[in-house]
């Protein structure tokens, strides 16, 4: 393609030259500068290590890249034994929640340029769930809590036609529909860290999504499940969950609304 263009005589050599210079300037202005980032990763291989250990890696990165790209580069170019979960890599699947510089985030949404790269970036698995390998934890206890709150629509009418909702009724629980079950909130919660028995913010958020849904008929069932010794009353409103949520869900507010519903009934 390029060769063919070169062979064709230019209709106007001057314009051609001008365009080339413009292109050159653009390239010079936009050429991204790469820099070295040190990642300190908490590695753990259950077959070799007794305790997790911190290992540092130097990676050549561009400011537009994400921590997930750095992990890929380490796995593909430096150390293929590094284990981490990721799937869509675009902040939707919720697979790559990890603790980066002491804060739970999605590695695929954490841009390198937002970190102070003069110091190492610390990456470790989310806390409070059993560590399996490197950045991978056992998510089953988390999903157990999720399953327990019955996260599905329960309606007695036959689904012969659409169940209509007004815009306001839909907006009532809109915020909590955004959850991607990445566990960033639950594993940032100091109450969950104690013994992992607390239902955790994510389960309550997903209960909220159905409790305040006008089409659902099992709100009271879910409220009874969450009115547990390990339910909503253990929330200390530390707001860690709200800060951690990569989807920007107001998690603590949702928990407070569930508490209110338990005392005063569900207000749709």
């Amino acid at each position: 393609m390029t060769e063919a263009t070169k062979e064709t005589p230019a209709p106007n050599a001057e314009i051609e030259e001008e365009i080339e210079t413009v292109v050159e300037i653009d390239e010079a202005e936009e050429a991204p500068q790469s820099f070295t980032v040190t990642l300190n990763i908490r590695r753990y291989d259950p077959e070799v290590d007794d305790e997790p250990r911190w290992v540092d890696y130097d990676v050549e990165m561009y400011p537009t890249e994400r921590i997930l790209d750095a992990l890929h580069r380490i796995k593909w170019e430096q150390d293929p034994t590094l284990a981490f979960r990721r799937s869509c890599a675009h902040g939707i699947c919720g697979s790559d929640a990890m603790r980066i510089n002491g804060r739970n985030r999605l590695a695929c949404k954490a841009l390198v340029k937002d970190f102070d790269i003069s110091r190492p970036v610390y990456v470790e698995a989310i806390k409070g769930l059993p560590l399996e390998k490197d950045l991978i934890v056992d998510m089953e206890p988390f999903f157990d809590s999720y399953r327990e709150i019955q996260p599905f629509l329960q309606a007695s009418s036959k689904p012969e036609r659409e169940r209509h909702q007004t815009i306001e009724q839909r907006a009532r629980f809109d915020d909590t529909t955004k959850c991607i079950l990445c566990a960033a909130c639950t594993t940032s919660c100091p109450v969950f860290w104690t013994d992992g028995q607390y239902f955790g913010p994510a389960a309550i958020v997903n209960a909220h999504r159905f409790i305040f849904d006008s089409r659902d008929e099992a709100s009271q069932v879910r409220l009874d499940i969450l009115n547990d010794r390990e339910g909503v009353w253990r929330c200390r409103t530390t707001f860690n969950c709200t800060d951690a949520c990569p989807r920007g869900i107001e998690v603590t507010k949702a928990i407070a609304e569930v508490k209110q519903a338990m005392m005063r009934g569900v207000k749709l």
Binding site: E140, D144, V191, N227, E230, W233, M263
Partner: protein, 150 residues
């Protein structure tokens, strides 16, 4: 994980549910008692330090004895005592539940809190209602001077 263990124990928590659950009552109590305590404590401070002539200098054995002779202040102080001790104990219980990971240590601490709270409430209530500044038959040296006038 799923393939290795398809019959995962589920749900993990439901099996452990037992006994009555007072968490909701406790949560509401903390908020209500907190509001009432703000009124009671500031009322107590205002009466003792500002309303009473002489302020803090005037607070002595006789002043307290006088207050405990009045049914209004007896009930005022007893309500304040109960609310404060239960509110405080429940707060510490919450902190223990949140931060003590070892099950045995947690059990010991929770019982210690319960015991301490119960002892303080029983003794406090007893003293408030049975306080006698001039018990009969006591040595005059141990009693305040105004007892001689009675």
């Amino acid at each position: 994980m799923t393939i290795d263990n398809p019959n995962y124990a589920y749900p993990a928590r439901s099996t452990k549910r037992r006994g009555i659950n007072l968490e909701k009552a406790g949560w509401i109590f903390m908020r209500v008692s907190g509001v009432v305590l703000i009124v009671l404590i500031f009322g107590h401070l205002f009466y003792n330090l500002m309303w009473t002539p002489g302020g803090i200098q005037a607070i002595d054995f006789g002043f307290v004895g006088g207050k405990f002779a009045n049914p209004f202040w007896q009930w005022y102080d007893v309500i304040m005592l109960w609310l404060a001790i239960i509110h405080g104990s429940n707060g510490v219980r919450t902190i223990v539940n949140d931060y003590v990971h070892n099950k045995t240590v947690r059990g010991v601490l929770l019982w210690a809190i319960l015991l301490a709270g119960a002892v303080l409430i029983v003794l406090g209530t007893l003293i408030t209602f049975t306080f006698d500044p001039c018990p009969t038959g006591a040595s005059a040296e141990l009693l305040p001077s105004f007892c001689a006038d009675l």
